[in-house]
């Protein structure tokens, strides 16, 4: 069973469109994250939710909106897509308490904006 699963794995779309990426974890973790990996493979955190509450919100355009319907799910919606949004988006989760800084990552969702 996949611990952190993201869908879709690949997404190709036109500039100006709106798209969503979904993430689910079956580890019972309390905290979930979105990271962005650019074309040079640099990873940077975008958002983090703890038990459905937004706790980390880095400097990200407000076209990006995360939503956590419950602590096992964290979705990422992107409005008015731009060429620079092309990247691999990774979802991750971590448990509370000791080991809370050990993240389990999904396989990534590769977004290509044309």
């Amino acid at each position: 069973d996949t611990a952190v699963s993201q869908t879709p794995k690949y997404l190709v779309t036109q500039m100006g469109n709106d798209k969503s990426i979904k993430c689910e974890q079956n580890l019972g973790h309390d905290t979930m994250y979105w990271y962005k990996q650019d074309s040079k493979k640099f990873l940077k955190i975008m958002f983090s939710y703890n038990n459905k509450e937004l706790i980390i919100n880095e400097t990200v355009p407000n076209r990006f909106s995360p939503k956590s319907p419950d602590k096992a799910h964290l979705n990422l919606h992107i409005n008015s897509l731009e060429l620079g949004d092309s990247a691999v988006y990774f979802c991750a989760s971590s448990q509370a308490g000791a080991g809370a800084n050990v993240l389990t990552f999904g396989a990534g969702s590769r977004l290509t904006v044309l």
């Binding site: 493979k41 940077k44 955190i45 038990n51 991750a92 993240l103």
Partner: protein
């Protein structure tokens, strides 16, 4: 603030020879440090973690790393490279204790190539 610098963007070794991937850290407090590996078109997998217990940390797949405070380093090593070790490796530092949520700071990655 805390950060990591991976000193080599690419490392090439022959199968069966030792691997050394270098990482220096900068932190105003005792850091938690990690190495993650990313195989082509895959997610990131935790190799090992340092959290101020033993300075020599053993990880999966025969990798280990040594925390050296005097040198602010956390280099990753493996005695004998295998073809399956070819991947991107990330050195990562974590901010201090948090009750919820960690904004891990990733290095820029080192691409390991293993030749037959």
């Amino acid at each position: 603030a805390q950060s990591v610098t991976q000193l080599d963007s690419h490392v090439s070794v022959s199968e069966g020879t030792p691997v050394l991937l270098r990482c220096n850290y900068s932190s105003s407090y005792s850091p938690s440090l990690f190495w993650y590996v990313q195989h082509p078109n895959k997610g990131l997998q935790l190799l090992l973690k340092y959290t101020s217990a033993a300075t020599l940390v053993k990880g999966i797949n025969g990798f280990e790393a040594e925390f050296k405070k005097s040198e602010t380093s956390f280099h990753l090593t493996k005695p004998s490279a295998h073809m399956s070790d070819a991947a991107e490796y990330f050195c990562v530092v974590s901010p201090p204790n948090s009750n919820s949520g960690y904004a891990l700071n990733f290095g820029k990655g080192t691409s390991l190539l293993v030749t037959p």
